[in-house]
Symmetry: C2
Subunit: 447 residues, 2 copies
């Protein structure tokens, strides 16, 4: 019996599976039987194969679903363009005008529908979304994620600072930003079709420069009161990092902590210019980082010191940063996380002597990238997904390396770990054959 | 009449076309009628559309075929793997053992067949190939390119230095390397099915460290005698650059010139550590550079200063460097050429002050990347392709941005130049609908 177009709740799937429950190593589980219960939880892993087991098609591999820790859902239309301006100009020139269009719920419906289809088809089963300031459009994004089955955390963007946000696109005041954030939390938590809470709300101050102190303070209180997770940006670029220090006298990280926003499972996007003390504070608070290696190339002026962050015990996952990153797949983020770490280690300027060019010991492995793309992201969010472990939810993808429109090259016998490396470097949407969340098939291969 | 599965010799094609005949700018030619003569040359461009014109399907765009200036054809099986060792170790540990397997012509047939199919399907209509030391397998690569229609330059690798090349994989002496290079030149030039010389031989000393002085000298003489083009590597990594200086007392570029290998249309792969004098010498000799931005991340220890090279008048094109680069498409090389230039400009280490981090003025635009991927590569090779200009050969690809397995995102009206940017950042094999060389259809879309 094949897995094509088949949900797995209450069934057992037999597959050649890869996962990376711990950072830095990968487990290959050939011919493993994974039993999924009626609620979509992994009940057990076994070598005993029941007669009625479902089998993944020959040649396909099972991987945990990908986790995207940083998505600006409304920026999807400009994906792969508008990459020529520094962050502060990019926001005003391209991005705020685009986000403002989501006052039109019809536009929101069309765009968010296309985005969630795209992400699922690329293998992203969990996403942490920034929406816009608009409550109605943000509700629509939640509705669409619930309907299509993406595990998602969705935030109404709070941004009320008149000095940095244009009049046509900002919350009119801190109270409105906070009240509407609360309204979104209530809407999602009370949603009649949101079963086991696959979609969650997230408190979302855009970043310190875009919010007044009153707004940041109120959102911190709301997080403490409701236990809702928080996401924002931190120390992304030279400009942002310096702006926050000039305004608050603190580092960006310290300022967020001051406002009560650095909490367990807070996710901080970018985090390129953290000091060692910032990193330690983030680790102490059990917050985490969304590493966005593609976007950082255009907007950050530096590479996130990923290996140092991991060594200091930070929880780290990967983000596409649609549309700051030009390519909206976690495959791309994973390979670029390795490549960026190599460029940090070697440096880039050939006119400098080797020992003055880079930062020794900065590289990470493809195994680490695979962990970050799956279980690492899930741990940052505190979600029970990202590996094939009894008690975790069955969010998974089937990869067909030989898909004709795909680019993965495998000639002759390829050992399993080499195959995983080829998958991480080569996979595109074309290789994603099936996608499940909570054991339910969400994307099935073309017939 | 649609272009699906249709050759264009003696016909007129109507298409929305992009090309970049000059570096740094792009021309959009909406609804242009391109007439191709019986030999596959572009006869004229016109706004007058004949009744029997062929039309590209709605929504597709016509681009010049992509030019890959650096391919190690035999390394195709390890594409997307084996990226964890420095150049000198990588050669001995992974690459020489793999290349040695091409003494088996059956293995060569299978692998080269798959490679050329893959490259054409990804849109690469012209490629500059390193083969192996084996004459029979290298003839097979030429046969396959001729049969499948890839415009290709093919070199038997010359490598005879006993200190750097293992006994199991090297030319036994300089005479053999030179004699067999000559034999390949004769074989390709006399090939009965090689019509207008779409496939050409290329003299291919692997790099200075792998060749004795006698070998380099003899190959230089052979180039002068026969007028055959030359390709090799230059100043790729700290190790290679230093090795050549220690051995010859000259820079790598000067050494190649000394041996008569720096000639018109010589293509030098990588070239990361060129001095200004090296660049000027390359420009003076009308040689060019194959910029391999992905491979450089793993093996070069630095970023090629592309913008400086262009400013000094060097001819530059792009190379995948299969398998030093993990992804075998020129789309990837094009987007990474932009990204790498940004990382050279900004630098990578966040602990350094901004003005000490990078190299000002290093970035290149997506328009420049598109030129390098097409006409730039063709100019380096001295080939009459890469743009839609009367008198050039019609090597072209049709791109379908909306291909279901593709990743290009276009919602609503997208202005033409934004669409091109989205294509360069997003295109994969899945978006390549049709491929022509010399006006003959080589790849047609799935029905």
């Amino acid at each position: 019996m094949l897995a094509r177009a088949c949900s797995l709740t209450g069934r057992t799937l037999v597959a050649n599976a890869f996962h990376a429950p711990e950072c830095g190593s990968v487990e290959y589980l050939p011919g493993i039987a994974i039993t999924v219960d009626a609620d979509g939880l992994i009940e057990r892993l076994s070598r005993d194969i029941p007669d009625d087991a479902v089998r993944l098609p020959e040649g396909q591999y099972l991987l945990p679903g990908l986790v995207d820790l940083h998505v600006h859902a409304p920026q999807f239309p400009q994906l792969g363009s508008a990459l020529d301006a520094p962050l502060e100009d990019w926001l005003q020139t391209y991005t705020f005008p685009l986000e403002a269009k989501y006052s039109d719920t019809g536009f929101a419906c069309e765009t968010y529908d296309a985005l969630i289809d795209h992400m699922l088809r690329c293998g992203t089963t969990t996403a942490l979304h920034f929406a816009t300031i608009h409550l109605p459009a943000t509700r629509i994004l939640a509705d669409i994620c619930i309907e299509k089955g993406q595990r998602a955390l969705i935030g109404k963007v709070a941004m009320d600072h008149p000095d940095t946000c244009p009049e046509y696109y900002r919350d009119p005041d801190a109270d409105t930003a906070i009240t509407q954030t609360r309204a979104l939390i209530d809407y999602i938590n009370a949603h009649p079709h949101n079963g086991a809470g696959r979609v969650l709300p997230v408190i979302t101050p855009r970043f310190v420069p875009a919010c007044t102190d009153a707004c940041l303070h109120g959102l911190g209180q709301l997080a403490a009161e409701t236990g809702t997770r928080v996401q924002t940006h931190v120390s992304e670029s030279d400009w942002e990092h310096a702006h926050v220090r000039a305004r608050t006298g603190m580092s960006d990280t310290e300022a967020l902590d001051h406002f009560g926003l650095l909490r367990e499972h807070t996710v901080l996007a970018h985090a390129n210019f953290l000091s060692a003390a910032d990193m330690d504070l983030i680790a102490l608070r059990d917050s985490g980082v969304a590493h966005c290696p593609w976007s950082n190339i255009y907007f950050a002026n530096a590479v996130f010191p990923l290996r140092e962050a991991l060594a200091r015990g930070l929880r780290v996952g990967l983000g596409t940063d649609i549309s700051g990153g030009p390519i909206g797949t976690i495959w791309e983020a994973a390979r670029m996380s390795v490549a960026a770490s190599r460029l940090l280690e070697s440096g880039t300027d050939p006119d400098r002597a080797p020992h003055l060019r880079g930062r020794a010991g900065a590289r990470v492995s493809i195994e680490t990238a695979f962990h970050l793309a799956t279980r690492g992201g899930a741990k940052a969010l505190g979600l029970n997904v990202g590996a094939f472990v009894p008690g975790m939810r069955f969010d998974a993808i089937a990869i067909d390396p030989a898909a004709p429109a795909g680019q993965i090259v495998s000639i002759g016998d390829t050992p399993p770990l080499q195959m995983l490396e080829k998958i991480i470097y080569g996979a595109t949407k074309a290789n994603v054959a099936s996608v499940w969340t909570d054991g339910v098939l969400r994307v099935s291969p073309a017939p």
